[in-house]
């Protein structure tokens, strides 16, 4: 019997196969997938929290759906993401939009779906969360990251999830983001220590970087 494909950190190939083409299916409501294996979402919270706490440079990539205040729910998700970043701690690097930025992006402070590997490489990110990124752009970025980097990718998707992430939640909301933060807090209380290299989150203004590590 053929072994099931596993969605593992790369670098896998210049053009890694779409996980869906390798038989990976999206989770049903109440489920998540860990490396392609469908699990109850409770198991995924625990697994994701441990992965994030175990990372040296855990990073959250918030996308336009949570950076821009389209509605009150977006603002609540943004608040929950900030709480999660503080709980871990994790860096926040925005994916503000999807344009190919000229002359080039600054990989220390932003990520672009067309070249996400640049930001991963530059910051030596070993585990990351995509949240608030439109699905088609997330699919593109997740595949490029798996193809060219060794970063463990976690997708917090408000729709049906992502096969191309190493771990994917679905139907996320402010409450489910808080649930992941609560899981992190619980594990820390139980003695699981964050392995993150100490850093200061950068702060930007209209003039540029105000403070923090870039």
């Amino acid at each position: 019997m053929e072994e099931q494909y596993q969605v593992l950190p790369g670098p896998e190939a210049f053009l890694p196969p779409a996980a869906a083409s390798q038989g990976i299916v999206l989770p049903d409501p109440g489920q998540a997938h860990i490396e392609g294996r469908l699990v109850d979402e409770e198991e995924a919270y625990e697994y994701a929290a441990r992965k994030l706490l175990g990372g040296k440079v855990p990073t959250i990539f918030p996308g336009p759906l949570v950076l821009w205040k389209w509605n009150e729910k977006a603002a609540k998700k943004a608040s929950a993401i900030r709480r999660l970043a503080n709980a871990l701690p994790a860096r926040l690097i925005p994916m503000a939009d999807y344009r190919p930025k000229y002359p080039k992006i600054d990989p220390a402070v932003e990520i672009n779906p067309n070249h996400p590997n640049l930001t991963i490489w530059h910051n030596k990110i070993d585990v990351c969360i995509f949240v608030g990124v439109h699905c088609h752009q997330a699919n593109l970025a997740l595949k490029i990251i798996r193809g060219g980097t060794d970063c463990y990718t976690i997708a917090m998707c408000a729709q049906a999830g992502h096969e191309d992430a190493c771990l994917s939640f679905r139907d996320i909301s402010p409450e489910t983001i808080d649930k992941l933060a609560a899981t992190v807090e619980r594990l820390k209380k139980e003695g699981v220590e964050s392995q993150a290299i100490p850093f200061e989150q950068f702060v930007m203004s209209r003039e540029g970087v105000v403070k923090g590590d870039v």
Binding site: P62, V66, L67, W68, K69, W70, A74, A75, K77, A78, S79, I81, R82, L92, I93, P94, A96, D97, Y98, R99, P100, K101, Y102, P103, D106, V109, E110, Q201, F202, V203, M204, S205, R206, E207, G208, V210
Partner: protein, 298 residues
């Protein structure tokens, strides 16, 4: 989309790159008197672009983006060409269409927006090159005018197919020799402004982008007329400096030469008497409002 939605979530605003913070803080969304004079003092709705240095099209983009009266509720429909390289860099909703289909897409979009947002003014603009407007898409362009679709068509006329290497287009001048049209064009430049007017456009303007106040005037007039009457058309000369053998700094001179007396781009406007009266009334209203606002601030 509306002005209220051009805001950042407070909890993540301080990690956003500077240009987005500036966009939210100083762009002229919601200012009905916005115009080209805001360039330099407020955030423009076009970020870095990928056009050639000195490209008149990039100047046209800046003037148009600063002149449209309702950017937060406007949608641009683009087509294949140099313009499609710029659209990812603009802070206004936009759709890329299949080459030539732009006016058909804009027709459906404008109708859908009118049904979905009956109480809100939504402006739709087609912005495409002369190949998409006059050659490959002429059918869709003219059919939208025949049907009296209420949106503005803007044609960037560079008189050839520029980004594919210089092939002959309908708007090319008679006798012009291009890199991939070595024999020289054998027939006259298509008189699309006249065709547009006869096809049902209520306001038509042809001009270069050498003078920003003229571009602003044409854009605003076309927008207001499209809302009230029906289709409008603007043809802007945006020469491709590469394809006509000019240097980066010579685009402006090329446009000025072409609009001097007897030139093919002397500014012209075509409109009915009814539209003329409407524009006069509208501009008087705008002037009175600006005067009043000035008096209040003084």
């Amino acid at each position: 989309m509306s002005k209220e939605k051009i805001a950042l979530c407070e909890d993540l605003a301080d990690v956003m790159p500077p240009e987005y913070q500036e966009l939210v803080a100083t762009a002229t969304f919601g200012n009905q008197d916005r115009g080209w004079k805001d360039i330099g003092s407020s955030k423009e709705l076009i970020e870095q672009h990928s056009l050639c240095a000195g490209c008149p099209e990039s100047i046209a983009f800046r003037f148009i983006m600063s002149s449209i009266p309702n950017p937060e509720d406007s949608v641009f429909v683009g087509s294949t060409g140099c313009t499609s390289l710029v659209f990812p860099q603009v802070g206004i909703h936009n759709i890329h269409s299949l080459f030539g289909n732009q006016n058909a897409i804009a027709s459906g979009l404008q109708r859908a927006l009118a049904v979905r947002f009956p109480d809100r003014v939504k402006d739709v603009y087609v912005l495409a090159g002369d190949g998409a407007t006059v050659d490959i898409g002429l059918d869709m362009t003219m059919q939208s005018w025949f049907r009296q679709e209420k949106f503005t068509t803007i044609c960037f006329d560079n008189e050839l197919y520029a980004n594919t290497g210089g092939q002959e287009s309908g708007l090319m001048q008679k006798g012009f020799v291009a890199k991939m049209a070595p024999v020289g064009k054998k027939f006259e430049k298509v008189k699309l402004p006249e065709i547009a007017f006869e096809s049902g456009c209520h306001y038509v303007a042809i001009l270069t982008v050498s003078k920003p106040n003229r571009v602003e005037q044409a854009i605003r007039r076309a927008t207001y007329v499209a809302r009230e009457f029906g289709p409008t058309y603007i043809q802007l000369y945006t020469p491709c400096i590469l394809e006509i053998g000019k240097q980066s700094m010579e685009g402006l001179d090329e446009m000025k030469d072409s609009e001097s007396i007897g030139g093919r781009f002397v500014m012209r406007e075509l409109m009915t008497d009814e539209v003329k009266a409407f524009i006069k009334e509208k501009e008087a209203e705008d002037k009175a409002r600006r005067k009043q606002a000035k008096a209040v601030t003084a």
